[in-house]
Subunit: 393 residues, 2 copies
Amino acid sequence: MSKRLTLGIFGFGVVGQGLYDIIKTKDLNLSIKKFVIKDPTKERSLPASLFTTDASVILDDPEINTVVELINDADAAYDITVRALRSGKNVVSANKKMIATHLEELVKIQQEHGTSLLYEGAVCGSIPIIRNLEEYYDNELLHSVSGIFNGSSNYILSKIFNEKQSYEVALKKAQDLGFAETDPTLDVGGYDPKYKLAIVASHAYGLYINPDEILNLGIDKLGNSDIQFANEKNYKIKLIPLAKEVDSKHVVLYVLPKFIRKDNILSNVENEYNGVLVKAAFADEQFFYGKGAGGHPTGSAVLSDITALRYDYRYEYKKHLESQQVEYSTDYQLEVYFRYADEKTLEQIQFDSISERYYAENFKYVIAKINLQEIIKKRDLIHQDGNFLAEII
Amino acid sequence: MSKRLTLGIFGFGVVGQGLYDIIKTKDLNLSIKKFVIKDPTKERSLPASLFTTDASVILDDPEINTVVELINDADAAYDITVRALRSGKNVVSANKKMIATHLEELVKIQQEHGTSLLYEGAVCGSIPIIRNLEEYYDNELLHSVSGIFNGSSNYILSKIFNEKQSYEVALKKAQDLGFAETDPTLDVGGYDPKYKLAIVASHAYGLYINPDEILNLGIDKLGNSDIQFANEKNYKIKLIPLAKEVDSKHVVLYVLPKFIRKDNILSNVENEYNGVLVKAAFADEQFFYGKGAGGHPTGSAVLSDITALRYDYRYEYKKHLESQQVEYSTDYQLEVYFRYADEKTLEQIQFDSISERYYAENFKYVIAKINLQEIIKKRDLIHQDGNFLAEII
């Protein structure tokens, strides 16, 4: 019934190792033939014969029918994935940036070559959100999909709000523990959750949106005044990507820090955990929670994709093929808190209305309505040092 | 690509109506040909020609290829399901008692007749737990599956612990709101979550267990002393079904009220909501949350099953077919709180050890270790008026 898989795996980092750990515990009708690695001098826990630095050893081996791509470099991952899909191999990838950036083309290649690309591990680690959007909510009217998609920034925010640490101290701790990179921009700047959002939105609404077109502001400008403001008002700040149907024809997508109330279910997602909140017309509020990163959680998602390929599973992209398509829009009014350093900044931004304004020597802010398009247009101005913007929900 | 479905639906109650509401909003390549109802005199919101009281009108109609069974009577549901599956029709059912009681036979009939029976709506309403166990965790080593599976009893417990109501007042309110039946035993006695547990355990561990063999104690004996005890110790009480791998060969299943700490994720599942907590070797802790009952949430799960049948989806029951099977066991030691009225009761129960003992005129309890087998053996004695048992975790 199930097809025997022979795997070629690119990458033997934390996820590759986690995957290997899982596979060896189970009798799964699959075998790993080769790992392609970058650094041949690094000591490995497995026999040297399993490793090579030559991608062709996997890509040109007709016996290998399944390629697992677990490398960081999005460009290299793209080349590998395209070559593999075109040569009749199925691919499992965990590279969110690569998938988000090239999804439309990758879907076309799959269709042309009858191959399958699965990427559950690319979005929120162990949480099976893509599979559920694809299989289970395929006929649901989805009002919105949002959540905590980035463990690093969430870890930092948990330290800030639960342990009263400053942003700088919390970031340093996250870096020491390996939860954040030396250059943390991808995480704290909201790029990583944006890539995931683009993938999620694609499966939720049948859209192909280049991530460059989606607004992301992160928590990298978060200051002590903002934290104090949040605490006084009994808010927590979370970095939240959102895909939302604003009317029956339009969907908005953006990543912003948000002030959320403590009864918001996302308020309970702490530290390196992820949570996905799906609001649907009939299923109502659905929430998925689990570890968003790490070798074993992500490895388990990758394995689930691999074993699904034994049954020739593929995403159907049903919502992309539907006649009634929704369109991506940036015309959406939101309420924000905006702390700014320089009074001139405020004059250059067009707010729809300002409901509160606070002014002190070292702390100035407004609470205001603003259109998403205006935030996109003035992004660089808003994102300067001394400023911080967050949505209030 | 998708098969056109012609539906015959048994039942037009809250779920049947909810389902109809959902179907009419979408172009799904399916049509409803007939509803079979019990009471022909009741006024209906749809044309009379859609209704009949004669089951054969659906079951003998060769044009109807899909039967949706949404009636309360488990015996009648069983007859309908078996007849339909045997005559080549696929079936979607939301009847947890029927599925739990007859699952092994129903799987056999599906295999013999090449038909498919789906029942996501039978377990935790809108939460896609069966589909995820079947498809996504099919190769995961599952340590345990537990959760809040019964909205009625959870609503009552929320009123008790968040609004300081007594059990009696909270039950009355739940009944007034339609969250609990006039005879609430099925819910507050833990039978309903037990049926769901049997189904979940089947998909999680490949077991067929007659629900009669599974221990269930409910919250129906919960008294003010127990509530006060929980509050003093900073516990909440929740009614929790559990399937747990106690070693590599044995799984225990039982439903008990439990004292849980407020940092337990299930502690945040309030009112009529359900939550399912899956602990897996590699995916780690996974949590699914959503509405457990109601016309639209359950209707959405039923619809998801119906639309999956357009692609001839069927449960594979892979874990039942695996060579390394686990067995059902009742040999498991747990720690319990046991309030009792009569000192003689205590003498008749064999505890492994008693760590605390409290004695006052109107309130006596022990904290003790006890084997699950002993609770099963002394169930009637333990479940007498004046007594209340809950696990401490």
